[in-house]
Subunit: 462 residues, 2 copies
């Protein structure tokens, strides 16, 4: 995290217009080969803005323009914020020695993330170019699970011995303008163990000769390298922290996770949940081939496929009724569609509620009762309408009864099932997001079709 | 935001166990009427932990226990973090004078949020009890759209005239230990206009007699009170800020939005998107009655219902074929299900990609081509399987051809439609999340059924 107050102004109104103008200007300067003004312009932009602009420029020019960034630290910042596709392209098109210099300017956690996305061969080649120290640090970081605190932490933090005074601490901070340390100062003992924390503000308001261990807070919120990233995110969110220190199994301070990393974790986890709910996976991107994406989606669709064939079998059992009351098949789509849709609504409310903590497993009974009532209300409403429709359009009271009762039963059942399954999954410690995918929909389809024909057999006395 | 490093230790392993133990202990002490030890225990807990514990206690005791919190500032903190249901309960069960004292301890933005959730009558009653100053501040805050920067900002920030020196600024900070100001110090001119910003760290490392306007950064990222909350969130996320100042139309500094508020905005917006994708709305909670929830979901289901009836009509047109080839109706569920599922997958990938910025409208053509290929691959795979199944099980080459070709066509078409619609919605500045709801599913259903019977008429020469 770059806590950088020296940023360029962006008023949000007209932001897009400004960006578009910059893209055009840079493109024009590039075509005129006007290096000096181009370099000057680039140097004035915030790294995040420059990265967004590069993403919009013709891809074949991006590497050239990227290497006009005057200083390696800035170039590293921009590289870290490019979209993944473009980053891989820039890295593969750049001379390795230039890259190595840029990489030295990256915080170790960003470097590890970038290395993680590169093809094996390119990674080995680049690793060889890094200084001893960076390499050790990087290899150390790469050993952690990318979804753990160790995987998302930066090792580029700042800590001091707890035996120093406020004055000595301030002198130390003055000497280290480059590291990620702005709000909390972590304090360690001789063994490197985390023993306390002071805020910048405490340094400002305490007498210069106070020893840090007198003013520090000894009860530090911390996580270990193996803590799951969602745990870290929950901690930062719940206690409204700006950063949380990461210790190893011996309580030695080895890194920290900052709030901007946590925002990334939250977005990543949400994306994963959403895609899982739809029956696909987070690793699907524009760069993947159609075959690879198809392979990711195939297994989820298989569940729906097998369910669909089962429904075929169910209907096959009732061929006799169908032959006599042909119109029953015309109502199949609306009967399946209504139950499926109400099921998705209920399941989504439950899954999202569980993910944000708005509900938990202890709410199962009230939630299920609530959904039962919602399903009954909706089922009664649509059941009546479709019953009347069936009677009016097809002049058959029996048909009206069959479709009306089916919609009532299926919508109620779907709402119930769609909330029960995620709650059950949560209790079994299985991710409830999978419950809204093809599994629930398919279960609802089969049971719904079965219910339809059972009711039809009963009403038509067949 | 309380930037508070003085917090209780929570090791994440064993956190749930610790919480459970605390809930039990507090419950036991309450039943024994052991007020003194209860108060002592409560005073030692972090407000966020205490709020979580109260959420787990029997609701009828919560108000009593809440009023044992020794100081009003802490009580306010806890109240702000209770779940909405419980908060409303505690407020309605508390004596108003006690509440007024607690409310004085809340940051104005949190107070405005809480007031916003209260029934009209209770709100008016409580407003009357607040001090003149709090009331003005609150009424001021309540005038902003809750989804704007003005609606989420706090007015409890700290700013200083830019004419002071570093030393004077530090003296000021010492005197104000209570406000939300830890990382950035905003500087204003005589008219209260925002003119610059300095970080705590700059105060530490610059000479005591430097005037602030010499060391301040004049280019401050800022938003106006009417800026949309998603714009604020994007700004904080993109530039990795810890807070962003809010100015009015005359550039007068009126508040700030901190990163923890931004995390809330991100979660809120995501929940809204997810529920919209499922065809329901964010305002659905456990406290709503079943009728209210049914009313929220009804319109979305109506789209599916009308679509379903349309499909009924389509099938009605092909009754002749159905009568002769009865088995066609048995395949309706699997044909509709497969297209619907692949459509949801494609639409979700597109909608989430648009929401996170991973893709934008300029990617329409490559994305549509990609989905076309994915649909073809999946359609060919499942088309072949179901074609063989149809042929083997029902001993009809024609049936195999019909169902195989239909699955191929429908899955490809569904993938295509499901990515085209969100991209189109985005271009028309309509929220693409609505595109994955019942609308797309229903469109896919009708077109799919139509395609099925057209292919059947053609193959069976009927």
């Amino acid at each position: 995290m770059q806590i950088n107050v020296e940023t360029k102004p962006v008023t949000n109104t007209g932001y897009d217009a400004r960006k578009k103008r910059l893209v055009e200007t840079i493109d024009r300067l590039y075509h005129r080969d006007a290096k000096a003004p181009l370099q000057k312009l680039i140097a004035r932009l915030h790294p995040a803005d420059l990265a967004a602009i590069l993403d919009d420029l013709p891809t074949e020019h991006v590497t050239d323009i990227f290497h006009l960034i005057p200083d390696n630290r800035r170039a590293a910042d921009v590289l870290g914020q490019l979209s993944e596709d473009l980053r891989i392209r820039v890295i593969s098109e750049s001379p390795v020695d230039k890259l190595a210099r840029v990489f030295e300017g990256l915080p170790p956690d960003d470097l590890a993330d970038i290395m993680g996305t590169l093809p094996e061969e390119q990674r080995t080649q680049l690793m060889a170019l890094l200084g001893r120290e960076s390499k050790d640090e990087l290899e150390n970081l790469l050993q952690y699970d990318p979804d753990s605190a160790g995987g998302i932490m930066t090792t580029d933090f700042f800590s001091l011995p707890h035996t120093l005074t406020v004055e000595e601490a301030v002198a130390n901070i003055r000497r280290r303008a480059d590291v990620e340390m702005v709000f909390y100062l972590y304090l360690t003992d001789e063994a490197g163990c985390l023993v306390g924390v002071v805020s910048m503000r405490q340094l400002l308001i305490n007498p210069a000769d106070s020893p840090l261990h007198k003013i520090m807070n000894r009860r530090v919120m911390k996580v270990t390298t193996s803590s799951d990233q969602t745990t870290v995110a929950m901690l930062v969110e719940k206690y409204r922290l700006l950063a949380v220190p990461v210790v190893d199994d011996n309580n030695v301070l080895v890194g920290m996770v900052t709030v901007d990393d946590v925002i990334e974790v939250i977005e990543e986890e949400t994306t994963r949940d959403i895609l899982k709910m739809a029956g696909t996976s987070e690793s699907e991107t524009l760069t993947h081939s159609a075959f690879k994406i198809a392979r990711i989606r195939l297994p989820w669709l298989l569940a729906a496929f097998i369910g669909g064939l089962a429904a075929t079998g169910v209907i096959g059992q009732f061929e006799e009724i169908l032959a006599q009351v042909l119109v029953l098949s015309a109502f199949l789509p609306v009967i399946m569609g209504m139950a499926g849709n109400v099921g998705v609504q209920s399941a989504t409310v439950a899954v999202r509620g569980l993910a944000t903590g708005a509900i938990d497993v202890r709410d199962t009974v009230p939630l299920v009762l609530k959904e039962l009532r919602v399903g009954l209300v909706l089922g009664t409403f649509y059941g009546c309408i479709i019953g009347i429709y069936g009677y009016m359009v097809h002049h058959s009271l029996q048909l009206g009864q069959v479709v009306g009762l089916t919609i009532l039963g299926n919508m109620t059942g779907a709402a119930l099932l769609a909330v029960l399954l995620p709650m059950m999954f949560q209790r079994l410690k299985v991710d409830p997001a999978v419950a809204t995918g093809p599994f629930v929909t398919t279960a609802i389809d089969i049971l719904g079709v079965l219910n339809y024909f059972v009711i039809a057999s009963w009403i038509y006395h067949l």
